[in-house]
């Protein structure tokens, strides 16, 4: 086994030092009744070259050469080469959580810089070091809201990503939460409906742009929540925040979301990272790791994991969360991508997505596909009616090498003929023309 160094004589010397005669004897505390007497039924070991071949064969069974207009929460954005180069630095890749700050200033400073970037993008005061993904940070936010307000009702808009809503509902019984959904009207959420639902609620969660790609009147939704004393929580796309207003600027208490768009390959759904940021009022209630600035014994600036008295290893059953492992490496990928883009690049990225999306909307309309939500402002994603079951339209387009979008009928009644089409900066005018032709 090429990952193991011990020779036969090493083993003999070590057993002698321990004072046992065999490796078996090391396991004498395990009762015979619970020993496993057989060889594990796992296929024989592969050498590195055999493994590479086997994995390429598996990867070859996936279809990734269709032009991707599929989004619905995970997007085909470009990941720059520098991201890969940084992530392959072994000192970062193979480190554990930075419990010993003197050994971990690199990761700690990177997390501090990530927290800063997330705060800048969302207009918040504090960010944690990342959560698992864009769904679990929503459950985390509910937990914060429940304890901050003493209320147990959570309002979530129906135009919020269905998987986010499913995860919140799965966590709800344990948290003692009641989940109330506010339906959309014509693809957006009516602030008055939110105002009614938000009475006695701990939080109102909405998505901007929402799951249909439409821009909500987010300031009005946040105001409706605030009027009822509920915490407005915006679920946002990092890539949109060069052109769309930061949630902190329109009164949100927290901002959360899926970070994949910044720095991460789609990778069949993970690992990615969720971000979670809040106003300073909630800093001691946040789940997960937080890095803070301090000084060392020589007065030099340095970074440590801080506010650890919130956390499970100290507070145990009274902790703000059970999280330990998070998604630091993927959040680092996000930071590197955002650092390459800078404010101007992020703005241009948003503008390019919008320009291509607008072209796609026009092209599909010209091809006879009706908008599901006409006249609604969108960012990089929009819904069209295909005039037949959406799965049929999808299959027809796939036959022409185009993966045309996400069938909304999977999650919404009455939208069986609708496709949600996502357009990133990687798409071209030519590819969009092919999409229109394939769906016409």
């Amino acid at each position: 086994m090429s990952f193991l160094s011990l020779t036969a004589s090493d083993r003999d010397e070590m057993l002698a030092a321990i004072g046992v005669s065999s490796i078996d004897e090391l396991f004498r505390d395990i009762p015979q009744g619970v020993r496993y007497g057989r060889e594990l039924d796992i296929a024989p070991a592969l050498t590195e070259s055999e493994l590479q071949r086997h994995m390429e064969e598996l990867a070859g069974k996936n279809i990734v050469d269709e032009v991707c207009f599929l989004g619905a929460g995970i997007y085909d954005h470009y990941v720059p080469a520098v991201v890969d180069a940084v992530l392959q630095r072994g000192e970062l890749l193979t480190a554990y959580t930075p419990y010993q700050p003197e050994m971990s200033q690199g990761v700690l400073q990177a997390i501090f810089e990530y927290q800063t970037a997330i705060c800048e993008l969302t207009g918040m005061d504090v960010s944690n070091a990342s959560g698992y993904d864009g769904t679990t940070v929503a459950a985390d936010a509910c937990f914060v809201a429940k304890h901050a307000t003493g209320r147990s009702k959570i309002v979530v808009t129906e135009a919020t990503n269905p998987q986010v809503r499913q995860v919140i509902k799965t966590y709800a019984p344990g948290f003692g939460l009641e989940i109330v959904e506010v339906p959309h009207e014509g693809g957006v959420t009516d602030p008055d409906r939110v105002r009614e639902a938000a009475v006695d609620a701990a939080a109102v969660i909405f998505q901007q742009p929402n799951f249909f790609g439409n821009l909500e009147n987010a300031p009005e939704l946040a105001a409706a929540a605030n009027d009822a004393g509920a915490m407005p929580i915006a679920h946002v796309d990092l890539v949109s925040l060069g052109v769309l207003e930061a949630p902190g600027e329109y009164g949100c208490a927290m901002a959360i979301g899926e970070g994949q768009s910044a720095g991460n390959a789609m990778s069949y759904g993970g690992p990615h990272y969720g971000f979670l940021a809040a106003r300073n009022d909630y800093i001691r209630r946040l789940p997960g790791r937080i890095v803070g600035e301090t000084v060392d014994a020589a007065g030099e600036r340095g970074y440590v994991l801080t506010l650890q008295t919130r956390e499970q290893h100290i507070r145990r059953e009274k902790a703000t969360s059970n999280i330990t492992t998070n998604q630091t490496l993927l959040a680092l990928a996000g930071l590197v991508h955002l650092s390459l883009l800078g404010p101007q690049g992020l703005r241009e990225l948003g503008e390019t997505c919008m320009a291509l999306r607008a072209y796609a909307q026009t092209a599909l309309a010209s091809a006879g596909l009706e908008a599901v939500f006409p006249e609604k402002a969108t960012f990089k994603e929009f819904a069209v009616r295909t005039g037949r079951p959406a799965r049929e339209a999808l299959a027809a387009a796939r036959a022409k090498g185009i993966y045309a979008g996400y069938p909304l009928g999977r999650d919404y009644a009455g939208l069986d003929d609708a496709l949600l089409v996502a357009v990133t900066e990687k798409r071209t005018v030519d590819e969009i023309d092919r999409l229109a032709e394939a769906l016409s």
């Binding site: 160094s5 011990l6 321990i18 090391l26 496993y36 060889e39 594990l40 039924d41 796992i42 070991a45 590195e48 990867a59 069974k61 996936n62 279809i63 990734v64 520098v82 940084v86 392959q88 000192e91 193979t94 480190a95 554990y96 419990y99 050994m103 200033q105 501090f112 810089e113 800063t116 005061d125 990342s130 998987q163 344990g174 003692g176 821009l215 060069g242 899926e258 069949y268 759904g269 803070g292 014994a297 007065g299 600036r301 290893h313 059953e317 059970n322 492992t325 998070n326 998604q327 490496l329 680092l332 590197v336 883009l341 800078g342 404010p343 101007q344 690049g345 607008a358 402002a377 999808l394």
Partner: protein, 497 residues
Amino acid sequence: MKLIYEKSQAGRRGLGVPKPDLPVPEVPPELARKSPPRLPELAEPEVLRHFTKLSTRNFGIDTGFYPLGSCTMKYNPRVNERIVGIPGFANLHPLVEDDAAQGALELEWHLQEILREVTGLDAVSLQPAAGSQGELTGLMLFRAYFKDKGEDEQRRKIVIPDTAHGTNPASVTMAGYELTPVKTDARGNIDVEDLRGKVDEHTAGLMLTNPSTLGLFDENIEEIRDIFHSIGALMYYDGANLNAVCGISRPGDMGFDVVHINLHKTFSQPHGGGGPGGGPIAVRANLEPFLPVPVVVQDGAGFRLEYDRPKTIGKVRAFSGPFGVFVRSYAFIRSYGPGLKEMSEVAVLNANYILARLKDAYDLPFDRLCMHEFVLSARSLKKEHGVSALDVAKRLMDYGFHPPTIYFPLIVPEALMIEPTESEAKETLDEFIDAMLAIAREGAESPELLHDAPHDRPVRRLDEVRAAKNPVVRYRFEEHPVEHGAGSRQLEAQKGA
């Protein structure tokens, strides 16, 4: 070292964005961004150098020995990083129809089968994102199972030993259960007499790490199993220490009903400075109907995601789970094959070797053979020479080693929890042992050497109290960026920062 924000100059950028010859639509003014985010502005070479420099201020397994107890810091094969980047994996969207993801689903299905075999249980969900989420998911399954039997109102308590990871009690709270703590006996096992007095018809189950965080296999596991199963309660296995027993003893055979597996520990997903992880759960057949959706199933010659599970608890994470983690762990397992048993044997041999050679120099709270890790105490050093476990840990850095886990488990004062894993050469173990022996001598002879450690890391000991008292958790652009102490400019010049 400067923050990347302190290297920023207006007008620079590190990445171009395609600009199609198309009009850019207006965002409605009330929804448009008013002032740009203050992201860094640097050209590409400076971005790469910044993060490369950060990496030189960090220590990973690739750098050296990392015996961080309970974290299983083993070698992460480089080929796995290449494999995860194969376009057929990296560029696959999670919402494609199943026919476009047959390779991914086949891999996930094989991984499920392997985890069934290693744990000795019947069904697997890969969805949980980390060990602690696996725990929470397992407890949700407990509740769903008892609700289905009409016993959820009655069974409100989960038993957890005092040696447990902090995640266990935190998960209990998040699942809406109450905690029943149980003591450890003089041999480091669960105190069975204490346990008998605490288990009754209100008990939903047990959460146990076995081997425990003391690195000891519970010798009474069969008796414990009988206690719980005789009253219809369930048993949860925290798989954090599975690296000790692969192919040697299976949690299902020990009587556990739900197990989580930390793919980032036993099965070598690189930990990335804090994550990602993977926390699949394996369950006994009676809990299978409640697993999160989707579940990967074999269907004729192909594979598909199954959502139609009427009794499912729902979803704990998006999609089928952190796929890239599955790719790496599956590749790692295929590199070992049935030799996973040898992996565990060597991990246990390495731990016992260090233990045998250090137990005279430090206090040993439980004098037994250990499994894949063990816990020493610096209690005598502290009492006689004022040298703490923290001091020992910091001094180890001067010798070029990452310190062990310290002050855990909580029941051992001045604890030093050492887990070498199977990855190390005997020479490395000997160097570490020599360093630990030297530090024990230094502690007695010149304690200040330990109090002042580390001496040659990029920073000295950091003021954690200050960080928590006045939290600065983001760069404050408005303020003077750096508060230097006396002499720091000189230090900065020496370090060439």
